[in-house]
Amino acid sequence: MSLDQTIFIPVLAESLHTTTSPTPLQFFGILLSLLGLFFFVGTAVGMIRFPDFYTRMHAAGKGDTLSTMLMLSGFGLVSMEDLSMGSWLLFFKIMGVVLFIFITCPTSSHALMRAAFEDDEMPMTEKDLKKPSAKKK
């Protein structure tokens, strides 16, 4: 067994040799997941590139919530191969998770920002932009 056989080839082979083409609902699910992945990349870039705490939390709070919800609902749609009782049950369970994320994720980012505000962390202003490298965090 070589490296290619063990790791790379089976994944490719599985993805290539799927015989059943996805139903329209599943195709829509895959599309939603990819969109969620795109927003996740945006979140990661924002976390690294933004200059101060509040803007970084802005990227993290919004992008994380949206992308997680998109990906989870995409998975819920992908799991609906047929419209049987079991797949509906699974779909509603995943929607429960989406609701949970929708409630908790903004709250947690709000709590983090509130804690920073109470700790006298000042938001970045235009003054900070004018003097370069004054506030390198």
Partner: protein, 82 residues
């Protein structure tokens, strides 16, 4: 065998997270990175078929033990010498 790539990726990330949790000088960061480590471990076990162990690790390792660590650091010094 299809999950071998996933398995390999998480195993390597585990080593990175463990090293990072021990390298950072801020203990609060260290405990948060340790929560990440615990959650990666939970994913790995769920993939291996040990769902009960994964569930326990998700509630205990990534939940309670992080809270307990942070509660202790709150009463102690936050900086560490190494």
């Amino acid at each position: 065998m299809g999950l071998a790539l996933f398995n390999t990726f998480i195993l390597l990330l585990l080593v990175v997270a463990a090293l990072l949790a021990l390298r950072v000088k801020d203990l609060l960061t260290a405990s948060v990175v340790f929560a990440v480590y615990s959650f990666l471990m939970c994913l790995l076990w769920a993939e291996m078929g040990a769902v009960d162990v994964a569930f326990t690790e998700a509630t205990v390792g990534a939940g309670i033990s992080t809270v307990v660590l942070i509660a202790t650091i709150f009463n102690l010094k936050r900086k560490s010498s190494d």
